[in-house]
C-alpha cells in the first residue's frame, strides 16, 4: 500500500485504491486513457498503477477519445474489463458515438450474448476555476442514453465502494467523479475494510421533516451546508444523495418526499432538460398527492459554463437553495 497516503484519504486516493484492489483481484481489469500511466492522470487518480501492474494493465493511449473508448469496446468484447479515463467532462464528447451507438447497446444488440463490462470514468462539474471545457456537467446526456448505468459518489467511502461496484458490474457504467471533491477528505482510509456499495441505491445523508433536498455528487456537501443553515430559519431539511442516476432509486427518494411533502432538486448541470427535470417529473408522478408544493429545481443556469471568475454566480449555493426552500409554499400548509 505504498501509493496510498496515511488516513484520512482523499477521494482521489480512494478511487485509486478501488482500481488497485480491482486490478489485484482480477487480471482482466485494465485501466487506459490519456496520461493515466507514467503521470498517474492529471488528477493523479491512477497514480502508481502503471508502476505496480505494468503499462499493459494501465496504458497511456494516443490522444483520441473515440479511439480510447472504441478500443476499450473491443477489449471488453474479448473478455477484459477496461476502465477508461476521460481527462475532463468535455473531452468525452468525441467518444459519444462509441458510447451511444455501441457501449450502451452491445448487450441489447446481441440479446445478452456480448455484454460490455466497462467503466468510463469522467471527472465532471465545476468549482475548480477551470477554463472553458473543463467544468461541464454532462450527466443529462448519459442519463438519456438507455443501456448505461450512471453513478456518482459524493463521499470518499462511496468513491471507493461505488467504483468497485462499477468495475465489477457486467454492464457499462459511466462513473462521474466530482472534480472539486477529489481532494475532499473523510474518515475513510485505505485501512477501512473494503466495502463495495451496490449501484442503484440512494442514501439519506441527513434526516429532516420539513422538506427533502434531492441531490448528488458535488452538490451533496452544499446541500448539507444549506440544511445546517436552514435550521436558523426553522426548516429541518432532509438530504438525499442519489449516488446512482441510473438506475434511479425511486423507493428511497419517494419515501422521503412522501414524508416531508416538499422537495427541491439541486445540481450543477443546466436546469433545462437537466437531471432535475427527470427527478422532479418522476417524483411528482409518484408522490403527487403528498406534495404541498411543486418540486423545485436549483440548478446551473441555462448557459454555457461560465469562465472561472463568474462561476460562483452559476453554481447552486446555499443561498439559492434556501431561496428555493422558502418558495415551497409554506403558508399553504398552515
Amino acid at each position: 500500500m505504498t501509493t496510498v497516503a496515511a488516513k484520512p484519504a482523499t477521494m482521489a486516493q480512494a478511487l485509486q485504491r478501488a482500481m488497485r484492489d480491482a486490478m489485484a483481484e482480477d487480471p482482466t481489469v485494465h485501466v487506459m486513457g490519456e496520461d493515466v500511466g507514467t503521470l498517474g492522470g492529471v488528477f493523479r487518480v491512477t497514480d502508481g498503477l502503471a508502476k505496480e501492474f505494468g503499462e499493459d494493465r494501465c496504458t497511456d493511449t494516443p490522444l483520441a477519445e473515440a479511439g480510447i473508448l472504441g478500443t476499450a469496446v473491443g477489449m471488453a468484447m474479448y473478455g477484459l474489463r477496461p476502465v477508461v479515463e476521460m481527462q475532463f467532462d468535455a473531452f468525452a464528447y468525441p467518444a459519444f458515438e462509441q458510447l451511444i451507438s455501441h457501449v450502451a447497446r452491445m448487450r441489447n444488440r446481441t440479446r445478452g450474448a456480448m455484454p460490455l463490462p466497462l467503466v468510463v470514468r469522467v471527472p465532471y462539474g465545476g468549482g475548480i476555476g477551470g477554463v472553458e471545457h473543463h467544468s461541464d456537467s454532462s450527466e443529462a446526456y448519459y442519463m438519456a442514453t438507455p443501456g448505461l448505468h450512471v453513478v456518482t459518489p459524493a463521499t470518499v467511502a462511496d468513491a471507493y465502494g461505488l467504483l468497485r461496484a462499477a468495475i465489477a458490474s457486467d454492464d457499462p457504467v459511466v462513473f462521474l467523479e466530482p472534480k472539486r471533491l477529489y481532494w475532499s477528505k473523510s474518515d475513510w482510509s485505505p485501512d477501512t475494510p473494503a466495502q463495495v456499495e451496490p449501484i442503484g441505491r440512494a442514501v439519506v445523508r441527513r434526516t429532516g421533516r420539513s422538506a427533502t433536498l434531492i441531490t448528488y455528487g458535488p452538490s451533496v456537501p452544499v446541500c448539507l451546508e444549506a440544511a445546517e443553515a436552514a435550521r436558523a430559519e426553522g426548516w429541518d431539511l432532509e438530504v438525499v444523495d442519489l449516488r446512482s442516476l441510473v438506475p434511479f432509486d425511486d423507493e428511497t427518494v419517494c419515501a422521503s418526499v412522501r414524508r416531508t411533502g416538499r422537495a427541491v432538486v439541486v445540481h450543477e448541470a443546466n436546469g433545462f432538460a437537466g437531471p432535475g427535470a427527470e427527478i422532479a417529473a418522476r417524483v411528482t408522478e409518484r408522490c403527487f398527492h403528498h406534495l404541498e408544493a411543486p418540486v423545485l429545481r436549483v440548478a446551473g443556469f441555462d448557459i454555457p459554463y461560465p469562465p472561472p471568475m463568474l462561476e460562483r454566480h452559476h453554481l447552486p449555493g446555499v443561498d439559492r437553495i434556501l431561496d428555493a426552500v422558502a418558495r415551497l409554499q409554506w403558508e399553504a400548509e398552515s
Binding site: 485494465h30 499493459d56 493511449t61 494516443p62 483520441a64 473515440a66 479511439g67 473508448l69 472504441g70 478500443t71 476499450a72 469496446v73 473491443g74 477489449m75 471488453a76 468484447m77 474479448y78 473478455g79 477484459l80 477496461p82 468525441p94 458515438e97 462509441q98 451507438s101 455501441h102 447497446r105 452491445m106 448487450r107 441489447n108 444488440r109 446481441t110 440479446r111 445478452g112 450474448a113 456480448m114 455484454p115 438507455p146 443501456g147 448505468h149 458490474s169 457486467d170 454492464d171 442503484g200 441510473v246 438506475p247 434511479f248 425511486d250 423507493e251
Partner: protein
C-alpha cells in the same frame, strides 16, 4: 528570464534536433503504384488448384446469395439489402484467410463475408430482415455484429486484437470498411492505435468507387487509400479487389504478418459495386450505365473462371456443379426466409442490462398488460 540567463547558454552549441530519429523507413510502407494481380499473370501458377476451385465455388455461391437476398427485399422478406455483387472476391477472401479462432469485423455490407465464414445465412440476415439487431452470438462465431455506423467497428477490432495479444492468444482480427468509411475519424484513430500497439489486425478497405452516390474523387485526394498506411507507420497494400486469388494472397500475407507479431496492415482492394447501394437506392441518379458495363467486364467470377478453364482446372461439369450448389443454397434460403420471423416483444426489456431495473420491470409489465389486452381483444 532573459535570453542571457538561459541555462546552458555558456556551453551552447547547435545540434540537430535531438528528438529527430526517423522511426520507420517509409519506403517499405508505400503500396505499389498498381493494384496487385494474380489471375492471368504468372503468379497464378503458384496457387494451389484446390484453393482456386474453393474460391470459385464460394464466389458463385456469393453471387447467388446476393441475388437471392435482393430478391427477398422485393418479396418483403427483407427490410433492406446492401448487395455486394461485384465485390464477392473481397467478401470471400476475407472469410477464407482467417483461422477459426480469428475474428471478423464486418461492415453493414458484409453479410456475405460472414456467410462465407460459415455463418447460417438466415442468422446473417436477421438484422436486414427487420428482426433482432444481431442474429448470432458473436463470440460463438467470432464475427462481430454487422456494423452500421461506418468505421466504428475498426477500433473494436483493434481493441480485440490487442486484448488477445495481451492474453497471449494467437488471434488475428480482420476488419472491413468501405472507401467512404475511410473519411471518418474512427478510421484514423483505429489505424493509429493499431500501429502504436502493433496490434494483430488487418484492415481491408473495399474501394468500390462510391459511398452511396459520392464518388471516390469527392471522398479523397490521396494517390490511393492504401497510401494512408504510411501516415500510421504500417504497410499499405493495393490489390485488384476483383481478383480473388490476389486478394486472398495479400490478405493472407497481412494475416500472417499480424500473427507473427509484425503488426497491422492496411489493404485497399479496388473493386466496384455493380448493384445500387441498396435495393432502395436509384443508382442511375449518380452514375452511368457505361461505367457499370465496363466493370462487368472485369468480373471477379469470370476472371477466376477464365483462369480455371484455361488451365483445365475446371470443366463444364464443374462449372455447372458450382452453379447448381449455389442454386440449391438459394432455394433453401428462400424457403427458410419465407417463414415469418418469431419475435418476442418482451425481449425489448430483457437485455438492456444484466439485471432489469425497477423502471424496466414497470415498463415490461405495462407492455405485458397491453399484449394481454390485445390478445383478449383478438379472442373476442
Amino acid at each position: 528570464m532573459t535570453v542571457q540567463e538561459l541555462p546552458g547558454a555558456a556551453s551552447y552549441r547547435p545540434t540537430p534536433p535531438p528528438a529527430w530519429k526517423p522511426r520507420t523507413d517509409p519506403a517499405p510502407l508505400l503500396p505499389d503504384p498498381e493494384p496487385y494481380r494474380v489471375l492471368g499473370t504468372d503468379a497464378a501458377a503458384g496457387f494451389a488448384p484446390a484453393l482456386l476451385r474453393r474460391l470459385y465455388t464460394e464466389l458463385v455461391r456469393g453471387r447467388r446469395y446476393n441475388a437471392q437476398a435482393t430478391a427477398l427485399t422485393k418479396q418483403g422478406r427483407l427490410a433492406v439489402y446492401p448487395s455486394s455483387t461485384g465485390q464477392e472476391a473481397c467478401e470471400v477472401a476475407a472469410a477464407l484467410v482467417l483461422e477459426d479462432r480469428d475474428w471478423l469485423f464486418p461492415s453493414y455490407r458484409d453479410t456475405l463475408a460472414a456467410v462465407a465464414r460459415g455463418l447460417d445465412p438466415v442468422e446473417a440476415l436477421t438484422l436486414l430482415r427487420g428482426d433482432w439487431h444481431t442474429g448470432y452470438d458473436p463470440r460463438e462465431h467470432r464475427i462481430a455484429p454487422l456494423c452500421t455506423p461506418l468505421a466504428t467497428q475498426l477500433p473494436h477490432a483493434v481493441g480485440l486484437a490487442h486484448a488477445a495479444r495481451l492474453k497471449g492468444d494467437d488471434v488475428v482480427a480482420l476488419a472491413m470498411v468501405g472507401d467512404g468509411g475511410t473519411s471518418e475519424g474512427d478510421f484514423h484513430e483505429a489505424l493509429n492505435f493499431a500501429a502504436v500497439w502493433q496490434a494483430p489486425v488487418v484492415f481491408l478497405v473495399q474501394n468500390n468507387g462510391f459511398a452511396i452516390s459520392v464518388p471516390l474523387a469527392k471522398q479523397t485526394a490521396a494517390p490511393s487509400l492504401a497510401h494512408k498506411a504510411v501516415g500510421y507507420g504500417m504497410p499499405g497494400r493495393l490489390v485488384d479487389g476483383n481478383d480473388a486469388a490476389a486478394v486472398h494472397q495479400v490478405l493472407s500475407e497481412a494475416v500472417a504478418r499480424a500473427r507473427r507479431g509484425g503488426g497491422p496492415t492496411l489493404v485497399e482492394a479496388v473493386t466496384y459495386r455493380i448493384d445500387a447501394h441498396t435495393n432502395a437506392d436509384d443508382a442511375t441518379r449518380y452514375r452511368g450505365d457505361s461505367e457499370v458495363e465496363t466493370w462487368r467486364h472485369h468480373d471477379p467470377i469470370q476472371l477466376l473462371e477464365r483462369e480455371l478453364t484455361s488451365r483445365d482446372l475446371i470443366d463444364e461439369d464443374g462449372i455447372r456443379q458450382a452453379a447448381d450448389e449455389a442454386e440449391a443454397m438459394a432455394a433453401r434460403l428462400r424457403e427458410r426466409m419465407n417463414a415469418d420471423a418469431e419475435l418476442n416483444p418482451m425481449d425489448l426489456f430483457g437485455h438492456v442490462f444484466a439485471e432489469q431495473t425497477a423502471q424496466l420491470r414497470e415498463q415490461a409489465a405495462q407492455l405485458r398488460a397491453e399484449l394481454a389486452a390485445e390478445a383478449e381483444g383478438d379472442v373476442r
